[in-house]
C-alpha cells in the first residue's frame, strides 16, 4: 500500500486582503485626525454627565487656568478678520506676515500691546514664551470683552452665523474668576454659552 503523504503547503500567505484593509484603516485615521493643539496652559475640565457635543465651526473658547485667561478662535478666516478689527480698534497696524502668523495661532493670552511680540516668535517656540493672559477687568481695560465682540461681528460678516462662546475652565479655578468672565459676556448680552466638560458616567 502506498503511504498517504501529507502534502506540504507553502507557508507564504496571501497578504493582498490584509494590505487592503490596513491601508483602508490608515486612510480613515489620517483623514479623521485633527492635529491636537497644545493649549498654552493645561486646563483640566470638570466632569459632568452632559452629552452635548461642541460645534466645530463658528466657535470660540475662553480658556481659564492658573488665574490667566486665554482666547481661542476656531477657523483661520475668522482669526484674520478679528485681528484686523482689533487692530483698528486699538490703533495697531499688523503687517500681512503678522496676520498670517495670527491665523495659525490657535490660542493666545497676551495683552494686545504685546501681541506683535508674540507673533514674531515661531509657532514651535511659543511654549517658551511666558503669556500673562488677556486682561479682564470690570473697568474699561477689558480686552476680552472686545475680543469676543469683534469675533462675533466677524463671524456674522463672514459666515452669517451666531458665534458659540464656550468657557473651558480648570477644575481648581476659583469661582470669582469665572464670574468675571460670565459678567464680561453678559455685558454684551451673550446670555447663553457653553461650559466645556469631560464626560462622566452617572453613578446610580
Amino acid at each position: 500500500m502506498p503511504r498517504a503523504k501529507v502534502k506540504r503547503k507553502s507557508t507564504a500567505i496571501d497578504m493582498t486582503a490584509m494590505c487592503d484593509v490596513a491601508f483602508l484603516l490608515l486612510t480613515f485615521f489620517i483623514l479623521s485626525a485633527k492635529p491636537k493643539t497644545q493649549d498654552p496652559i493645561t486646563a483640566i475640565v470638570p466632569a459632568a454627565a452632559s452629552e452635548v457635543a461642541l460645534p466645530e465651526t463658528d466657535f470660540a473658547a475662553i480658556i481659564v487656568g492658573q488665574g490667566k485667561v486665554f482666547f481661542n478662535i476656531e477657523g483661520q478666516d475668522l482669526r484674520m478678520e478679528t485681528l484686523k478689527a482689533m487692530g483698528e480698534k486699538y490703533g495697531i497696524t499688523f503687517t500681512p506676515q503678522e496676520v498670517v502668523a495670527f491665523s495659525n495661532t490657535e490660542s493666545f493670552g497676551v495683552p494686545i500691546q504685546q501681541l506683535k511680540g508674540l507673533l514674531a516668535v515661531p509657532v514651535a517656540d511659543r511654549s517658551n514664551v511666558k503669556q500673562i493672559g488677556i486682561p479682564v477687568d470690570t473697568t474699561d481695560n477689558n480686552e476680552l470683552f472686545h475680543w469676543v465682540r469683534e469675533t462675533r461681528k466677524a463671524d456674522i460678516a463672514l459666515h452669517n452665523a451666531v458665534l458659540t462662546v464656550a468657557i473651558k475652565g480648570d477644575s481648581k479655578e476659583e469661582y470669582p474668576k469665572i464670574a468675571d468672565i460670565i459678567k464680561t459676556l453678559q455685558k454684551q448680552e451673550v446670555n447663553k454659552f457653553s461650559l466645556i466638560t469631560s464626560l462622566r458616567k452617572v453613578q446610580k
Partner: protein
C-alpha cells in the same frame, strides 16, 4: 491572487522559444508592516473623545431704563444652595433669616446633594404641584468644579428652573458659622 497570469497564450509546442517570465508576485509583508505601524500611530494620537459641553443660560440683565420687574415667587418652593470651600455645600429652603428647612451642610455625590434634591423636589411637587426653583450661590471660596458639579446634579435630577446668583453677606455669614468659608 496578487499575481498576474504569466502563462503563454496557450500555444503548445513549436513556435519561438520565449524567455521565461519572472513571477510578478510581490512580497507585501514589509508594506503591511508599515501600514499597521502607521495605523497604530494614528490611533494613538487621535483624540477620539471629543469634549462635551454643558449649556448655561443666564438671565438677561435688567437695564436701568426698563421697568423693574419683580417676580413674586413662593419662598416655600425656592431652594438656595450655597457653595463653600472643601467641596461642601449648604442648602436651605425659604429665606436665610427664617428658613423653612435647613440650613444643612451637605456633600456632593449620590447620597449627599442628589438625595436631598430628589427628596425636596418631590416634596415641593407633592405639596404645591409645581417644580422646585433652585438658586445656586457660589461663594468666593468655591471652585469652578463645584459649580459645574451642582449644575450637573440638577441636570441629573431633572430640575429645569435654576439660576446662578451672587452671594449676599448674610449667606457668607451662614457659611462662616458652619466653617465652610
Amino acid at each position: 491572487m496578487a499575481e498576474l497570469d504569466t502563462s503563454g497564450g496557450g500555444k503548445k509546442g513549436g513556435g519561438k522559444v520565449r524567455s521565461k517570465k519572472a513571477s510578478t508576485r510581490v512580497d507585501l509583508t514589509a508594506m503591511v508592516d508599515l501600514a499597521f505601524l502607521l495605523i497604530t500611530f494614528f490611533i494613538l494620537t487621535t483624540t477620539l473623545q471629543k469634549p462635551k459641553a454643558m449649556d448655561l443660560t443666564m438671565p438677561d440683565k435688567q437695564k436701568p431704563e426698563d421697568k423693574q420687574v419683580e417676580l413674586e415667587v413662593a419662598e416655600s418652593r425656592t431652594m438656595t444652595i450655597l457653595i463653600g470651600k472643601d467641596n461642601k455645600v449648604e442648602w436651605y429652603i425659604g429665606q436665610p433669616a427664617k428658613p423653612i428647612a435647613g440650613p444643612t451642610v451637605d456633600n456632593f455625590g449620590k447620597n449627599g446633594l442628589r438625595k436631598t434634591l430628589l427628596e425636596k423636589s418631590a416634596d415641593v411637587k407633592k405639596t404645591q404641584g409645581k417644580e422646585m426653583i433652585v438658586i445656586i450661590k457660589p461663594s468666593s471660596k468655591s471652585t469652578y468644579e463645584n459649580v459645574v458639579s451642582v449644575m450637573d446634579e440638577l441636570n441629573i435630577v431633572g430640575n429645569t428652573i435654576r439660576a446662578i446668583q451672587d452671594i449676599s453677606p448674610d449667606e457668607v455669614g451662614l457659611l462662616q458659622r458652619d466653617g465652610l468659608y
